[in-house]
């Protein structure tokens, strides 16, 4: 008979309450003359990442001069996921004067309809059944290819927005004038409470090794 003696419970099994949630981000580079500010920003970034749960981040570089009126932050990421086209979401049956799109993935139906309305106009696009969208006036091969290549969802676009939100959460609240630059796999945000000067942009680009 199984008997469980509570007094002999193995104490090692208990998960300690005191654990650190730090070190979410291994590649975090902060440069500042104030050493306590570096420490503080390490914690701020860790907690913000814990709160936002952005996936696919590679590195964060921060440059903050305590006496200057600007703060710059560069976020690098790993590219993942291709843009979803109509070709990936449906199969096209070419008729005499129209194309019948048979939808396999219903999750993006709303975005797909909206996109088709934008491109072809509402009078030419018709959803006759739940899984069929008919696009009128498309019949020759070149036009069908063009239709199937329309991009429905671009994950990169929303990812850029997420990265800027992350950078804005890291940047001090008072710095409301912002300049955002994109290049390949990274985003650079320079923020200030005054009009951003050209020198600051050049200086922070040099500090954060920004080349574009």
């Amino acid at each position: 008979m199984l008997h469980r003696d509570l007094k002999c419970a193995d104490h090692k099994l208990y998960i300690p309450v005191y654990y650190l949630i730090y070190l979410h981000m291994e590649k975090l580079f902060i440069e500042s003359e104030d050493k306590y500010a570096v420490e503080a920003y390490r914690q701020i970034v860790d907690y913000v990442l814990h709160d936002m749960s952005v996936k696919g981040l590679d590195a964060i570089h921060i440059y903050a001069d305590p006496t200057a009126l600007f703060f710059s932050c560069r976020v690098d990421f790993k590219r993942s996921g291709n843009p979803l086209k109509i070709r990936d979401l449906s199969t096209g049956r070419v008729g005499e004067e129209d194309v019948d799109l048979v939808i396999g993935e219903e999750r993006y139906l709303a975005e797909m309809l909206r996109k088709l309305w934008d491109v072809y106009g509402q009078d030419r696009v018709e959803q006759s059944e739940r899984q069929h969208i008919i696009v009128k006036g498309v019949s020759n091969d070149a036009d069908v290819e063009k239709l199937l290549d329309v991009v429905v969802v671009d994950p990169l676009k929303s990812f850029y927005e997420q990265l800027i939100t992350l950078a804005v959460d890291i940047i001090p609240v008072g710095f409301r004038v912002r300049r955002v630059e994109y290049a390949g796999d990274s985003v650079l945000v320079i923020a200030s409470e005054k009009t951003i000067e050209k020198e600051w942009i050049d200086y922070s680009k040099e500090k954060l090794q920004w080349n574009s």
Binding site: Y18, P66, P172, G174
Partner: protein
């Protein structure tokens, strides 16, 4: 008098209230949520044991309320995601658990280096409280050059918390390091320790104010005036605020419109055939409420001696 907090189920909580009133104590506030009753009260020191016995009988939890009877204001530079709800509300919650009445204020232009400023309205609002707690950032230069200069006009006890360890020379400012706009919920790791540091600083400041009050005591205790007001001004029941009469260390805030009720409050009868105007000054707060500032014995003379 000993300030205490009782937490427990609604089952027979009125036994506790009855006993507090029987031994000559005062109920400061009573809040009843669905499954929990929280009562803040004051009892004479020799009767604490009786309250402990009865709370054990009804399975309640009794804790001493170290900050009861104080009105604190917590000031953050902004209400953006950087400061609220965390850590701003976490810190407030901690003070409330210790029995304090806490107001929350986010400044309109409290952020930034050269652009930060405190308006006259904010200044007068903050100065109505016993103690102000400020939350600042992580750069020493910013705090020393701009933020401390912003609050230097305030003539009241202040607790400032920010990240870098540094020394502040002004006598009314207590500086606490290690806490800034980090999104912490004060549950894990060393977060609770950091929060306790702030609570300790606030407790010490309150202790200092209380010691000053002992040298030149108030003519009547604020808690006694509160009871008299609740008995003699029936309009207090129309006030929807959770604490219609708020206790402060040396005064009271009555949440009724000044223009209508100021005269009623002035003509209030207190002990020895005296009215409230003999013991206190009635004035208007910034938001149109009534402030009752109790006089010290050095100006009004003792009410009990002679």
């Amino acid at each position: 008098m000993e300030f205490m907090i009782y937490r427990g189920a609604p089952y027979k909580y009125d036994w506790v209230i009855d006993l507090v009133e029987d031994v000559g104590g005062f109920i400061i506030s009573k809040s009843m949520q669905t499954t929990e009753v929280v009562i803040i009260f004051a009892v004479p020191k020799e009767d604490v044991q009786k309250i402990e016995e009865i709370s054990r009988k009804v399975f309640g939890d009794l804790k001493s309320a170290l900050l009861a009877g104080t009105e604190i204001i917590m000031v953050s530079p902004s209400y953006s995601r950087h400061h609220a709800p965390m850590p701003h509300c976490g810190i407030i919650q901690n003070f409330r658990e210790n029995g304090a009445k806490v107001d929350s204020l986010a400044m309109a232009r409290g952020v930034g280096l050269e652009i930060c400023q405190m308006s006259a309205m904010e200044k007068s609002l903050i100065e109505e409280h016993d103690l102000a707690v400020f939350l600042f950032g992580s750069f020493e230069h910013c705090i020393r050059e701009y933020k401390l200069k912003m609050i230097e006009d305030l003539d009241m006890p202040i607790v400032v918390m920010a990240y870098p360890p540094m020394e502040v020379e002004k006598s009314n400012i207590t500086y606490v390091d290690g806490l800034t706009r980090i999104l912490m919920s004060f549950r894990k790791g060393d977060e609770q320790e950091r929060l306790n540091k702030v609570t300790q600083a606030v407790l010490e400041t309150v202790k200092k104010i209380k010691e000053e009050l002992k040298d030149d005591p108030l003519v009547v205790p604020p808690i006694y005036l509160k009871q008299e007001i609740e008995e003699q001004v029936p309009a207090i029941e129309t006030c929807l605020s959770p604490a219609p009469v708020t206790l402060k260390l040396d005064s009271l805030r009555i949440k009724l419109p000044y223009d209508t009720y100021a005269d009623d409050i002035r003509n209030l009868h207190i002990l020895n055939n005296k009215t409230l105007t003999d013991a206190a000054e009635v004035s208007q707060s910034y938001t149109g409420q009534i402030l009752v500032k109790i006089q010290r014995e050095s100006t009004a003379g003792s009410f009990f001696g002679e």
